[in-house]
Assembly symmetry: C2
Homo-oligomer: 264 residues x 2
């Protein structure tokens, strides 16, 4: 049905846009509003050039300037993102299954998808809260210290997983955070088990159990997890939930084949 296969450029030169996205990343990832000079130090650009680039970003609403002339992320981003999220098919298909898993375990359930070397959280179901917050949703977390991330890596072909691990800039968040070697070793284990644990590798006091989800051609790779405080989620408890988590992942994959339609 499709005409020609879309060429997916892996990494390359995105010209002017690439430079602007670097600036956008700098400002959005900063701890607070940034002055012109702060951005100048972070970005390797001449002053005049940077000034015009920032002006363009502000005019388009991707950045904003506060009363002190400092730059912060613009609200235009919210509008764009809400449309990206609102119609995401993976999320829509998974939603009822996540809810069911939340009911069963009583703990927080996450849905994540692999993008580059990060896991982007698409959805979250916590306790009673029917209110969904962006707080976690949308956040990009490193693949090497999240249950969903390790689960996702485990279903990639070895060479592709290895290449991806090679790109990672590892950062030691806790005493248990993986290195490249220990990560690759654990991935082998996860392949056999079919599920992954996060043993306080990202944040002290937080554990989770996760299972991978993938489409046949691996165009979609992600997973789900049940997360909670270590005092409540002992490793024994987590192990008990590995089965339901894998089962839920399985059901989501079945729903995807129907919902997203079999490749015609």
């Amino acid at each position: 049905m499709s005409a020609a296969k879309a060429s997916m450029p892996e990494r390359g030169d995105t010209g002017t846009l690439g430079k602007l996205m670097v600036l956008l990343d700098v400002v959005t990832h900063a701890d607070g509003p940034m002055r012109f000079t702060d951005i100048l130090a972070a970005a390797d650009q001449p002053r005049g050039t940077l000034h015009r680039q920032l002006s363009h970003l502000v005019q388009e609403g991707l950045l904003e300037i506060d009363e002190d002339g400092r730059y912060l992320p613009g609200l235009r981003l919210l509008d764009l993102a809400s449309r990206s999220w609102g119609r995401n098919e993976f999320r829509l298909v998974a939603e009822p299954h996540l809810k069911a898993l939340q009911d069963l375990t009583g703990e927080t359930v996450h849905l994540g998808v692999l993008r580059g070397t990060s896991i982007i959280y698409l959805d979250k179901f916590e306790g009673q809260q029917p209110v969904r917050m962006y707080s976690q949703i949308g956040n990009a977390s490193p693949v090497y210290c999240t249950g969903v991330g390790k689960a996702a890596l485990s279903i990639l072909p070895r060479e592709r997983a290895g290449a991806l691990v090679g790109e990672i800039a590892f950062h030691r968040f806790t005493a248990s955070t993986h290195t490249a070697e220990s990560l690759l070793a654990e991935i082998e284990e996860i392949r056999k088990q079919g599920h992954a644990f996060d043993r306080e590798e990202h944040e002290i006091g937080i554990r989770c159990v996760a299972a991978p989800i993938w489409s046949e051609n691996l165009s979609l790779v992600g997973g789900i997890s049940v997360t909670g405080p270590a005092y409540r989620l002992t490793m024994e408890r987590l192990s008990e939930w590995a089965d339901p988590v894998r089962g839920t992942a399985q059901r989501i994959m079945e729903a995807m084949r129907i919902g997203l339609g079999p490749r015609r």
Copy 2:
């Protein structure tokens, strides 16, 4: 404290970025995935040029391509937006007050801010009722058919409000939707009352009462609203809530002067 006043370019040429943002808007505002040809028709660009532009957007993760080669909004947007939202000071300051208003009324409470001719919803607190409402955090809604929008317009200087109304492309959502003339007339009324109603002007069956919120120099203009189904929210009921809504808006403005700090 600040050195030179940042020049806020009102509207102008944003060069390459502007063209790319048009494309991003086209795809994010579409009902579903778009084929290359669909975008070609919407954007006034030669095929070769469009192809490269889309490639760049895809490489940066602002757009994605599905298995059929169709374009849809990219998840990179989620990560950027979650950071924009997570640290938004207005939202953080308002949060407890919104929650209190939700507790009092039992209906859905919204926080919105004026951007151009749209209201962007920054936050939402829903009751327990599973009433489906098509409002989502981040969504940009037209200023002329939302309670928050009309409330926001009412505190702008007349000439500025008039100019803004002049820019609006009016669309008749329901039988009650405003025209430019009726909108300007109602704004006068809202100025006197201090609160605005939405009498099913955006969506049949949905009403709300709203109050404006603004900073001294009008660098921030927005409002809050209590929204719900018309069968439950009679106009009498809405009128009763006008006072608490105005009171909450007042408390948020007081909190802003402390939280955001007095202009040094």
